[in-house]
């Protein structure tokens, strides 16, 4: 069994549907990050002085890029995948063709990673319109968003494979994704938090992604970047095969 090039066919299906319906997706990956940058960056930023110098909006812009990349991948492989699997029975139809379950799930995860990168691209464009991108290194944010997208999609897919109903995704977002957005180094440096929260933040998968994005957008990727990358790749290598397995058990009964 295992994943084959045929997962690409599933990716193509998702791409076609996305470009048919992309207007309804606009608020999620364009308007919301823009609002956050305006409200927090400019609004709150007017009252915030950074210890290391620099403007607050400059600090949060890379975090918002990383955070919305995370949201995109997570939405795609929770609500998106669950609707295709459970309500539309799209998976059931596809697996009667030479495409196997692993291809379908991998295709959905690859598509989640693509959505992550598309969103990162859009938010990066907004940030650069604000003059917040200072280096060509920032272009590497796009491949980084693909890697991060693979990680977040795989984690989301594992959760989806274990979800009895669509309502359980409220827990996923309220207890996992949203806390990461607030405490994963997007809006405040981790040193701002009590020790216990700092420890939790260090194991949150968003933290290395936010730090890497910040390093790339400021043009100073340091030694720590390799560690961040290793965490992202390592987490993906655990969750990707795991989610294929649990989905297989769920779908082939």
């Amino acid at each position: 069994m295992g994943v084959s090039y045929r997962s690409w066919r599933v990716w193509q299906r998702n791409r076609d549907v996305f470009f048919k319906l992309w207007r309804s997706e606009m608020p999620g990956f364009l308007a919301e990050p823009l609002l956050i940058l305006l409200a927090m960056g400019l609004g709150l930023g007017a009252y915030v002085t950074m210890e290391e110098g620099g403007r607050y909006i400059e600090f949060i812009a890379p975090g918002v890029v990383a955070g919305y990349a995370m949201f995109s991948a997570s939405f795609e492989c929770t609500y998106g995948s669950f609707v295709r699997m459970h309500y539309q029975k799209t998976y059931d139809a596809i697996i009667t063709t030479p495409i196997n379950v692993e291809d379908v799930i991998a295709g959905d995860i690859f598509w989640g990673a693509t959505r992550s990168s598309l969103t990162a691209c859009a938010v990066l464009a907004i940030a650069s319109a604000f003059g917040l991108v200072n280096s060509w290194w920032a272009l590497l944010v796009l491949p980084l968003a693909i890697l991060a997208g693979l990680m977040f999609s795989s984690i989301a897919m594992l959760y989806t494979s274990l979800s009895p109903s669509i309502y359980t995704f409220n827990y996923y977002f309220t207890l996992f994704i949203t806390p990461m957005f607030f405490f994963g180094g997007v809006f405040f440096p981790l040193s701002a938090f009590p020790t216990i929260v700092q420890h939790l933040s260090w194991i949150a998968p968003l933290t290395p992604v936010a730090n890497l994005t910040r390093a790339l957008m400021s043009g100073h990727p340091g030694e720590g970047a390799w560690w961040g990358l290793a965490i992202v790749v390592g987490t993906t290598m655990v969750f990707f095969p795991l989610s294929l397995r649990t989905m297989r058990n769920r779908l082939l009964k």
Partner: protein, 301 residues
């Protein structure tokens, strides 16, 4: 084309398929007949590699379903019982996207898609959304989709359930056409008329087992008798009637308060029993009666 050997399917403690042997020959239309819960759909899911076997083995076109599922799935078409068209795509895109799953090149895919839509009288609706189709149209589109890879084996799970008579006959006529072109058909149904109209051979399934496999005409000759009497004796006369019938050597089945009595050409009912029997109808037997006699259940159950 299909070879099933002692196939077994368990869901926890529930046994859905309890050891089935059957062979579907190339080019025939083979019917699986049985009430809900007989194990038809479970068997079909194992044949199309959508469900692992709990025991036994299944080969399709000389390939083992547990080892060669991709190869098998490339050659078969599946019409599921539950409609699962891609609602995010139009009618035409449903077919072309499906063709892409089989690695059929774009131009070829479009050509086949349009031809299949014409065949099922859907060509006027190619840009429609799935939600805009009637249930009859959806069912026709499902079959058109299953044909996109020009399968040698077409597996259909209750293809005409809930369709109006006109659409039903359109579907039957097309299925006959495919059979005559050499496509092997495996047809799961509760509809006796469908089975006798289309199938070369029929397997009757009950409680996870195949209890008879014959051509429809032979099933009738073997188990149908000459005539079927449908009777509804008054409750107080029932015991007496059953006793008389048994003594006279009649085969009968009771379903709720109705008795089905299978009468051979050398058997006659006489005497007082005729008066309390309360005969509702006498008719030549159908596959439905055969099924009833073999299982003690009516198909609609």
């Amino acid at each position: 084309m299909i070879r099933v050997k002692n196939a077994l399917k368990r869901y926890g403690s529930l046994v859905a398929v309890a050891g089935i042997d059957l062979v579907v020959e190339e080019g025939e239309c083979f019917g699986l007949l049985g009430p809900n819960g007989a194990g038809k759909t479970s068997l079909i899911r194992m044949i199309i590699a959508a469900s692992p076997l709990s025991g036994g083995s299944i080969w399709v076109d000389s390939s083992d379903v547990t080892k060669d599922s991709r190869r098998i799935k490339a050659k078969i078409g599946v019409v599921p019982q539950e409609e699962n068209l891609d609602v995010d795509l139009t009618v035409l895109q449903n077919l072309t996207t499906f063709a892409r799953y089989f690695d059929i090149p774009k131009a070829e895919a479009k050509q086949r898609a349009l031809a299949n839509l014409r065949l099922f009288e859907l060509d006027g609706r190619q840009h429609a959304k799935i939600d805009e189709l009637s249930s009859g149209m959806k069912r026709r589109l499902l079959i058109a989709r299953a044909l996109i890879n020009q399968p040698r084996l077409l597996i259909l799970d209750e293809p005409t359930v809930g369709l109006d008579p006109q659409t039903k006959h359109l579907v039957w006529q097309k299925l006959r056409l495919f059979r005559d072109q050499g496509v092997t058909l495996l047809l799961c149904t509760q509809n006796m008329e469908e089975a006798s109209y289309l199938c070369n051979r029929v397997a009757i399934m009950n409680e996870g087992k195949v209890i008879a496999t014959e051509p429809p005409q032979e099933l009738l000759a073997k188990y149908g008798g000459k005539r079927v009497l449908e009777a509804r004796p008054r409750p107080e006369a029932r015991d007496l009637v059953l006793q008389e019938l048994t003594e006279a050597g009649f085969e009968w089945q009771a379903v709720e308060d109705t008795l089905y009595i299978f009468q051979d050409s050398n058997q006659f009912l006489e005497g007082g029993v005729l008066e309390v029997l309360n005969i509702l109808s006498q008719r030549t037997p159908t596959l439905e009666d055969v099924f009833l006699r073999l299982t003690g259940r009516s198909l609609g159950e």
